[in-house]
């Protein structure tokens, strides 16, 4: 039974909230249940943002959980805040261009993804979040890449549909990085 509880956290502007939403849309497209819960309020003013995304086969009971199956972490403060809240056996996928000190927990999988570097290579720094998402989905295919692409197609206004290919590329780059990182 699928019930994946994910925390995504980083600086505001790193695309943390939209990464969660994209994942949510994809889950919805695939007929799964989903809940997406942002941190809100002045916390965001401090420059950090995070969201909890839960993807499940069955009804999602609590949309807010304090321990997670997966952490997708984009900056150092988030690493410090959330590393201890990953369940044993869970994973952390992190942005290794920004985060210098990663978790050294042994009971979870910790995967360094240099997403910003790779995004720069694709000449679009904004795509770093999709690279991380791709990496995560490679490890835990809670939704398919096709699902993500279908979701993006529905969510993005027509005029942005030219960005679909680069998004797919980013997802694939992420998957590739994950395969390497393992």
């Amino acid at each position: 039974m699928l019930n994946e509880e994910i925390i995504i956290a980083g600086f505001g502007g790193q695309g943390v909230l939209s990464m969660g939403q994209t994942l949510g849309y994809a889950a919805m497209v695939e007929g799964k249940n989903v809940s997406w819960m942002p941190s809100y309020g002045p916390e965001m003013r401090g420059g950090t943002a995070n969201c909890i995304t839960i993807v499940s086969d069955s009804t999602i009971s609590s949309p807010i959980v304090s321990r997670f199956d997966t952490g997708i972490l984009l900056n150092q403060p988030s690493m410090e805040k959330f590393e201890s809240r990953i369940k044993p056996g869970g994973i952390i996928v992190y942005e290794s261009t920004n985060i210098l000190h990663a978790s050294d927990r042994k009971d979870i999988g910790v995967y360094a993804i240099p997403a910003s570097d790779e995004a720069n290579k694709l000449h679009n720094i904004k795509i770093a979040n999709m690279i991380l998402l791709g990496a995560f989905l490679e490890k835990k295919p809670v939704v398919s890449i096709e699902g993500v692409m279908e979701a993006l197609k529905k969510v993005l206004p027509e005029r942005y549909h030219n960005l679909l290919p680069i998004n797919r590329q980013a997802l694939e780059v992420g998957a590739e990085l994950m395969r390497k990182a393992q």
């Binding site: 249940n33 989903v34 997406w36 819960m37 009971s61 609590s62 807010i64 529905k154």
Partner: protein, 355 residues
């Protein structure tokens, strides 16, 4: 944002706003406050291309009195706010109840007292159900526990409000307002009931209509009070709503609404995994309260525990309902803290040991 059928991934606040438009709202008056500002934002974005009025008032006090005016004029009208804003609206709410004006009032509850915090809370249960305003009145209170219900209860709320000429409150919380979930909008036929009492201009075929809450002579006032109470009794008879989860064979019962009920549902699963026969009673209407079903369940279970995001408010209604038949405990977190299912389960076990 539309997907096949009309299924969307939306925030609770947005779902509510969308539902209101689909429910044929005539007007919304509101004032920004976290965690529900998305409502006004959604509406000011949508209504210019669709239908209705969405006006940012200068304060919550103004907003609730705009609702009073519009409802009195026969409009399908609503407002929303969060805890401190609702405290400011209490005079207006009491007036609206007294004048028997149908409207929808939404409190996306955050942590208090005072300015408090903007995180989810259920600390306004008393205010919503016992009457935070002055005088004897009641709101019909609906407690959604999902984004879907945030939408559905808008339709239901308008309907009940107009059926009984009474203000209906939806008591939600910051988590349900802020979170995104799937929500399906069904095609519905919107029926608006006639409002012959509304102040739309005194045509020659009728006497003037007066919306007032002033009954200076005690004898008249008491008649109004008695009339209101009779209506409340009617609502109690017809409109109690609740959900029973795994109560059939339950030996212990959790009672929880809204977000707490979501958490408690998971607790039921956890407890049953451990062999504890736990059930959950989720009140959907907080007023009228599902007292009868609790009274009956009290014969079956060994103990009940409420799970609330407050210091223990609804627990009083459960105690009143079971009238001493079983012990009723309370587990609560406050200030925007949301307990994990595991934590609640642990405390349930502690409670069970005291029985």
């Amino acid at each position: 944002m539309e997907l096949k059928e009309d299924i969307r991934l939306m925030k609770g606040n947005e779902a509510m706003a969308e539902a209101a438009i689909q429910a044929g709202m005539d007007a919304y008056f509101g004032y920004p406050i976290t965690p529900q500002s998305e409502v006004l934002e959604y509406l000011t974005r949508e209504v210019p291309n669709r239908t209705g009025i969405a006006l940012q008032a200068e304060s919550e006090v103004a907003a609730i009195n705009m609702v009073y005016g519009a409802a009195g004029a026969g409009a399908r009208v609503w407002t929303s706010s969060s805890s401190p804003g609702w405290s400011l609206m209490q005079e207006g709410v009491s007036y609206i109840a007294a004048a028997e004006l149908p409207c929808l009032l939404v409190n996306v509850n955050r942590g208090g007292p005072g300015l408090g915090t903007i995180q989810p809370s259920q600390g306004d249960y008393f205010q919503a159900t016992k009457g935070g305003g002055h005088g004897d009145y009641h709101l019909l209170v609906l407690a959604p526990n999902s984004v879907q219900e945030m939408a559905d209860f808008v339709f239901l709320g308008f309907e009940l409000a107009e059926k009984y000429r009474t203000p209906v409150m939806m008591l939600s919380d910051g988590a349900i307002g802020q979170m995104m979930e799937k929500v399906t909008f069904h095609k519905r036929e919107i029926v608006k009931s006639a409002k012959p009492w509304a102040t739309t201009g005194k045509t020659e075929d009728r006497e003037r209509n007066i919306i007032t809450t002033l009954f200076i002579q005690p004898e008249k006032m008491e008649i109004v009070n008695i009339h209101l109470n009779a209506k409340y009794e009617e609502i109690k008879k017809n409109e109690v709503r609740y959900e029973e989860i795994e109560t059939k064979d339950a030996e212990y019962l959790l009672v929880a609404y809204g977000l707490s009920a979501r958490i408690s549902h998971k607790v039921v699963i956890l407890a049953r995994e451990k062999g504890i026969k736990l059930g959950l009673l989720r009140p959907i209407t907080l007023w009228p309260y599902p007292s009868d079903v609790l009274f009956k369940l009290a014969d079956q279970v060994k103990g009940m525990m409420t799970v609330e995001l407050n210091a223990g408010q609804m627990v009083e209604d459960v105690r009143l309902a079971v009238n001493g038949k079983v012990k009723v405990g309370h587990y609560g977190r406050m200030g925007g803290i949301i307990p994990s299912p595991e934590e609640v389960e642990e405390n349930l076990e502690k409670f069970i040991k005291t029985l």
